[in-house]
């Protein structure tokens, strides 16, 4: 289910485009400003790095939530990182297809857990009934004996939970 950002020259490039590969490497390593343990590539919001007809690097990014205030910060961070590496780039915001937590890589999920944020449980698409709750494992002790405190947490993408075994309060990266 995880998706790796692609480059336009993935298939059968006649000459290896080291500049493009370098741009992908630099862009992929940019951390998320609000959840700095994961990169934009880990989250699946870096959609592609390619060259346009003029040869300029074009980076496509997608927002997590419509109103996510970090969108501009992320775009600027990627542009700045590329500039620091000597790469001039154009940032494009793409909204189709809509981002889903299914695109967070397995490595990204493990990084979130290690950071103290429970990664999204299962896949998206289920429309849960009123008062239905996900079973979310505590990122500290692993217990599934946890309680949802609020579906809306410290950022748009997170809910607030509490572990009923080790008493740890924690963020849950909710499914969308």
């Amino acid at each position: 289910m995880t998706q790796t950002p692609t480059t336009s020259k993935d298939q059968a490039a006649p000459v290896a485009d080291f500049g493009l590969a370098r741009a992908l490497e630099v862009a992929s390593a940019v951390p998320d400003p609000e959840v700095p343990c994961v990169t934009v590539a880990d989250l699946g919001i870096l959609r592609s790095v390619a060259r346009d007809d003029s040869g300029r690097i074009v980076v496509s990014l997608t927002p997590t939530y419509s109103g996510c205030p970090a969108v501009i910060a992320i775009e600027m961070a990627v542009e700045t990182a590329l500039l620091s590496a000597g790469i001039d780039s154009k940032i494009e915001r793409v909204i189709t297809p809509a981002w889903t937590t299914d695109w967070i890589t397995d490595e990204g999920r493990e990084k979130l857990r290690a950071y103290g944020i429970a990664p999204p449980v299962g896949s998206t698409g289920g429309r849960k009934a009123f008062f239905a709750e996900d079973v979310v494992a505590c990122p500290r002790c692993g217990s599934t004996h946890t309680t949802k405190v609020s579906e809306f947490g410290s950022t748009a993408c997170k809910a607030h939970y509490r572990c009923d075994d080790c008493a740890e309060p924690f963020d849950y990266f909710k499914c969308i």
Binding site: Y65, S66, G67, W99, K128, F130, S150, F152, G153, I176
Partner: protein, 253 residues
Amino acid sequence: MATADTTVPAILEIADDCLILGHRLSEWCGHAPMLEEELALANMGLDLLGQARALYAHAGELEGKGRSEDDLAFLRRERDYVNCLLVERRNNDFAHTMLRQLYFAAFMQPLWRAIAANSSDETLRGIAAKADKEMTYHLRHAGEWVIRMGDGTEESAARMADAVDELHRYTGELFMASAARTAAITAGLLPDPEPIRAEWEETIATVFAAAKLTAPEIRTWQKGGRDGIHGEDMGHLLAELQFMQRAYPGQTW
């Protein structure tokens, strides 16, 4: 192929609904009954503002007259806003705010889902796919609170009943197709609201049954917002919403 004359007014109706309700929710900042709700109300307001921004930017592009999302959000006169009356109703107490949110989310969630599946406009489908998922959370959150309060203490039940008595009459306008929306439906941009009404009614009936609330019989639905005829509250809302751009024209972050 729908022209900008058809698409822009229809998209503005939805954008204005999102902007005005998002602004109303932002008024709760610092006043919510508890910290978790403070965050939830701000989160939901932010989702709505994000949806409004995307819609305004898209409408401005389709219109092709150089109006930016800020121009559309901040620099129109009251009569040019075409939001429904429900979303401009003042926050009142937490019961009113949550009921208004339930009514709106129960309408928008199936509307976004239908747009995402069938709209003739690709950008709109993209905005809708994201908004659909966000409104699923709003709907659940608001529905759970209405149930909790309606089936709660004597005080909370009385407040919920008051809110239903006050706000239910504004819900009819959600399903009235204005001239703009009718044209957009014909052009395949927006879905017919009638199948959405059935889903809305089912959602409200489910929540009200669990909340021990009764929907009143409405003989005359309140309407006018789609024609720019707003209630007294709207002017006060716009005074605050537009103040910075009116006082410091063109100001940016």
